[in-house]
Subunit: 148 residues, 2 copies
DNA sequence: ACCAATTATATTGTGCACAACTTATTATCA
DNA sequence: TGATAATAAGTTGTGCACAATATAATTGGT
């Protein structure tokens, strides 16, 4: 029967993941546009707002957190810098590293961003418990894939 | 407490989705490279291999299935055409539409592709039932987002 | 101290995604 | 029928992702 075909689109987790990811991102887009951010830029800001390492965050640290490399992050961070949200400077103790710090404007933006998760949940009308369960399953999948 | 912060990266479903999607795609990449396909190209081939509409598949049909627009599909299909996997021609009954059909080479590729889902599951070592459950939850989320 | 290996970021090139716009064709209805 | 709207692809421009490579700085072993 058709529905058991290993190549049927609707049987693929990969496609469900791909489509759901783009649908969620599309939901974020108008809300983030109000802050002048794209979705990946928002993720970088989340890392910076967590303020680990006392603000001494290297490009590599962001990359490890988000699983992104310098080829993605360098131009993204330059755009955030142009928008006045972050500053980039070479570390004095290790000239190979670039330290990314929030500007005043970048810090202030966090207050506006706090409303986003709630607005998104409200818009989509999905139960918070289901969302949390899904999140945990996805994280489990991710660590499985990263370990193997 | 930190773990309840609405902006904490690890609390975001969106990030779990984003990271898991890229991790899964990364798993596909080397397998698909053997077929000369990228991941989105593979999804288009899945649609064509399903052979709906008796091979009379328009660009719009592919777009509806994959939730992609012509701005993404047109160049992608041109690359598939250059690779000799598909043909593109204007519909005779509606000159606005472009009909995409599989070439002999494109059809043959399906046989090589059939092994991919099994190899992927094997590599990642995740239980098939869990995968199926996750897929269904993601699809439910997707239809929620598309309806609202 | 010197050299090889490692590390951190940047650059280049390809291929998506998606918004905004254009062009061509078909459908609608006054 | 003739203007107008709707539809289907294509084009252009921006911003990711990621592979491959380059450059510069640091580290480790001798």
């Amino acid at each position: 029967m058709e529905s058991s075909d290993v190549l049927a689109l609707d049987n693929q987790v990969c496609f469900a993941l791909y489509a759901a990811n783009r649908a969620v991102t599309a939901r974020y887009r108008p809300l983030l546009a109000e802050l002048g951010l794209t979705y990946p830029q928002y993720l970088v800001m989340l890392v910076l707002w967590e303020g680990a390492d006392g603000g001494q965050v290297r490009v590599t640290d962001i990359g490890e957190r988000l699983r992104l490399d310098s080829g993605t992050l360098t131009p993204l961070l330059k755009r955030l810098e142009q928008g006045g949200l972050v500053e980039r400077r070479r570390s004095t103790e290790d000239e190979r590293s670039v330290i990314v710090t929030l500007t005043e404007k970048g810090q202030t933006l966090q207050n506006q961003a706090r409303q986003i998760p709630a607005r998104l949940l409200c818009d989509s009308g999905v139960e918070p418990e289901k969302i949390a369960a899904l999140r945990d399953e996805l994280r489990a999948l991710l660590s499985r894939l990263e370990d193997a």
